[in-house]
Subunit: 268 residues, 6 copies
């Protein structure tokens, strides 16, 4: 296993600088952002002429591997929400968003292939996460599962062509967010190998899930991992509960993301 | 404090039978459903001629008070979600739903007034509960709060005229669901007395909230109460987390509602 | 072991009425208050003529035994505090209080002897409980222990003469209040058999002591027991701590006494 | 926020040596002891001629600020206990002690002003901490609160003149020792700004208080802080309880102070 | 599911009396002991002439079903221990014990068949339970597993012939005692349907196993159940650990069996 | 107290190399293995001519003391198990094993004496640990205790002659494994000073014992210590319980040994 750095944390710094720093700190890999307009990686550039080759060479020159291309925003809009919630990712109708998101995810896989990167990480989206509660519409979740099979099935067909896997990151506000929905998604996708997970323990303890249970039950489907931490803030959680709303800086939140080792993830 | 029965649990039995049974069991009050088409109470009947008088007489005849009229479904559609999620409550466009929901809630207050009932209980709704998470649209929650102030402000103006209070039931999938959002809503409503809560401890422990904290911080805003219980299912919660999706009968759920005393609510 | 009732809970009812009620409820014994002026038992009456005989006959007539005479207030003033804190028990100088308290405790033993009661329960007192903390005067606790040996030693000499045991009730604000001080007191008293304890679990969980530990380490010194319960009030204790000050009715207290079975004592 | 060193930990070393050491270790501030006879700071010297100027210069020369003057012992005797408990601080009658303590605290403020130090830390005292329990004298605590208002009110008037704040350190055996008494003291002092707290988490976990609750409810009254730690000793606390008496070296204590990070304070 | 009584608890009472009592208390079934010499059921009698018919008639006459025949001791000696440990069950050499135990278990199945009882409960035995620890002989456990397959395989062949299932009761000191060994045994037995479990939650919490996990993972192999309870004795377990040795009456044990509802099994 | 290294962890390295490394890392002592055939220490060599002198000189040359000779395997066979379980230690009959084990332990003491080492560490053995459970043979444990007294009594007589103490390491699968059996063994040995313990906290938390309780109750009998750690693996223990069987590498084990600081031992 290689220890890597997700360069999107340093979008204000040129990619080569970030790689230099990462290599200097002993990292062995980088995960690169792939969404439109990000300053670190332009999918079209990668796919044009010797773009992939040049990029791979630069990164390899620092002794680094590319562990994954990450495209969370453009994956999100495949299943929604639509409307203003995702206008910042792609302005347009529901249909526009689905089309754009799907095409961009395929292009991300194509670029991964060109770069020799085995995995694309991201989100699958979720039109209305409130449907986890079976009222007022008990079929809401099943409807979204059907859309997941249809839309992501087509995308994964292309991933299969490119020999690239997709690693969804289970997370609150995603169609797949716990052990049950993860197992269900594997079943819905017929066990196809292009479908797996980016294991991020912080997103799981968020909801009171024991991260080892996810590993035990999904282990051969974990294709990538984020060393992210989160803290269940004991003196707040009894007021705000497990899924507090609002800004990350709000002091009263019962959950907040933390630097690895300072949160509630049992790293040992 | 009177101990009452929410008659909506027995919609397949005639209201008078339910009242008879409740009185026989020693209950002192009933909470009556007010949504369209329910077989226990028709708002239009109540408001027509001596309808209210007759109903009050029948119930009083069993030595029972009416603690509240309950209208959760028609309150829900004031803030959404819209579309198919709430077509079962009111089929129509977003605007249709808002209009219908608002009018019905006002009519519920009018009927409460006619019956001498001080409180209407219900839900305020929530267009997309997933917006508790500040990505992909960080202003989503604030937008919904604004709509809450506008739409429910107008409804509460009418409640004020009728001398009736509204008691929202904090619950997952509602705009107001924890201590923080409850305090915030009081502030958003400018502290007006028509706005308060139906305290239901099961909905709070659901999210890991300590129910006594809700009482301590909102006590003079609690206008009604439900003695509902819920269980954090220890051997499941580490897999499904605190907000499991799916059917109530699914065995693997980390949370399920229970008969009072058999769940995790600390009744003592 | 007999189950008894401490009649001091019903000082507004005549003793005989209380006995009648207790017998009717199935109690097998009563514990009688012995402090001056209490309406249930007057030590001087008991010791005069056939007083003891008459009282014993009345109580025996209801099929009840007397498990103990209780004299907490007059035991308290043997070791203090003095001044206004105990003027309600005995107005006077420190010396007056010590003398009065000592004499009354001896008289309680004498009356117990006359009634054939094997145990007197009570408190030993504590001049300044704040001395548990070794600053500003590190020898304060040891000084009080010395006074305990001197004053209570003399009292227990008389108990020995009367063949009666004293059962101190470990409690916050007493010189003996936990397992350590209980063991130490046995040692300070040279292991004399007149010295033992009235085991009251509520007073121990108060301070986070595991009641079984008290039993395991002091078992042959437990001469009497109170089935009292207390609750560590979870939502308050994190604010007021384990030793909240103020009135028992104050809602914010982190500890309150409760009816047996409704508190934190593990009765099973 | 500056990280400082309380020099009273090194009373056997000359102040300048301590400052040198502190600066060398990267500390940014010092808190100086102000009680009579301590070898680091003599209030009379500071207030004489250019005493303050010279001291400030020496300390500033090491790049250090003075965060506070600390005077716990002489604050203690303002509210007691009196008698032998505090003869080590000031020998004399109750009245002598109150007078001396009050004057010394005022002089400490005067010296703080002369040195440009914004805060004096200390204890307010408590005549008999056992009064937290409402028996045998239920008005005992209220009496002490009244004395607090009278005596410390006068002292704080002088603090106001000198533009210095007093930061009481909540602690067992003090009149103010938990969240409730801290809030109450702010109210008793009419909200005056000279009255606030020296936040010391070890003293709070001692009694099972959640330190974050103190911060949440008193935050704008915290004028200074001690990074002290304490350990609830799990294998002892079930025997000795939360407020064990006796020497700090006694192995069986259920609570002991520890070096920061080795105790039960949640520093993260 | 029927609620039954294991008559072996009342071996000093005639079986018919026990059945009468059980029926009177509302039980719906009985589990009968089958080991040699027990006064309730003699396998040879059952298998002789109309023995089975008569017994079934008597029990059926009280409205009771026979849920299972229980034969723990004679199952135990199939896998040991041998020597004096099991001389009380069958005196003889290791080979004698294996032969006797195997034959008796087969006969128990035969009698179950004759009585129309679907299940035999019991223990499989374990030569040396200390082999759970892989030192000093790391292959010890695997050796015992092999013997289990051989000896119990033959016994279960006969069970198959009689159409009866065997329900082993996982328990400390048995080859199958936790979720892992239970799953492993199903695999070792090639999934044959004659092999399953008598679910006894007390035996599982004994070792800190969550009983629901056993149900989740072995549910279709649970053929019978014991409503037995056990208590992890909190004030002892930290001294004696989870597997205390010695007599059940020893007060210091960290675990003891209890009446259902008074132990640590989460019945709700 | 000296910090030492148990050289048996590096049996593939020459003893002198290990001592060199240990000294370089700052260790102050070594514990040497004494069982037959180990490459670090040959008891016969030590006892021959100047063997002890030479070894002591070499080790002392690196500034190291010898804290103990360790002989766990040859102690084990004194009490068993016998048969194939311990053929790897000594092939032969039960009597052979007892004789060989006893003689080797005596020789270990003799060598310790020759080297000036005050303690021998090891195991006492246990014929069948399953006898902790009082069925099927309730006298099994008492029988083993009797053998312990007889066989180890004779061995300790020799230890007494050599002026060396034996420190048994309480451990699952040993006759002495918790606080109760440790106290009992001291009693069985009549309090003789040659009998004590090698305190190894990992072996105690294994069974849910609080290590401080062992220290509190046996403190003057702890003659040596191992800084070993172990982890109660939370996500597994609910399935495999506290005493999982099988290989140390098996991922599903509820307990595993860990590097000090990474387990569940409370080192602080």
């Amino acid at each position: 296993m290689k220890i890597g750095l997700f360069t999107a944390t340093f979008l204000d710094t040129r990619l080569e600088e970030v790689c230099k720093m990462a290599a200097g700190l002993g990292y062995q890999a980088v995960e690169l952002p792939a969404f439109s307009g990000n300053p670190h990686l332009d999918l079209d550039e990668v796919l044009k002429g010797s773009g992939a080759k040049a990029l791979a060479k630069m990164i390899g020159g620092y002794g680094l591997a590319i562990s994954a291309l990450a495209n969370h925003p453009e994956g999100q809009i495949v299943l929604g929400p639509y409307g203003k919630d995702t206008d910042g990712i792609c302005k347009g109708s529901k249909e526009d968003k689905i089309k754009f998101g799907s095409e961009r995810m395929v292009k991300t896989a194509q670029a991964a292939n060109a770069l020799g990167v085995p995995v694309v990480t991201g989100f699958v989206g979720c039109e209305n996460f409130g449907r986890f509660f079976p009222w007022p519409y008990s079929k809401g979740w099943a409807d979204m599962e059907q859309e997941f099979v249809e839309r992501w099935g087509k995308i994964l067909d292309k991933f299969a062509e490119y020999g690239v896997k997709f690693a969804h990151e289970p997370h609150p506000n995603q169609l797949i967010y716990d052990v049950d929905t993860a197992l269900r998604s594997v079943q819905l996708m017929g066990g196809r190998k292009e479908w797996g997970f980016n294991f991020d323990p912080a997103n799981l303890i968020y909801l009171d899930i024991q991260v080892e249970r996810f590993i035990d039950e999904l282990k051969d489907r974990i294709y990538h991992m984020h060393a992210k931490d989160g803290e269940v803030v004991e003196h707040n959680v009894k007021r705000s509960g497990r899924i507090p709303q609002g800004d990350w800086q709000r002091l009263g939140r019962g959950f907040r993301f933390r630097i690895p080792g300072w949160g509630s993830v049992p790293w040992k």
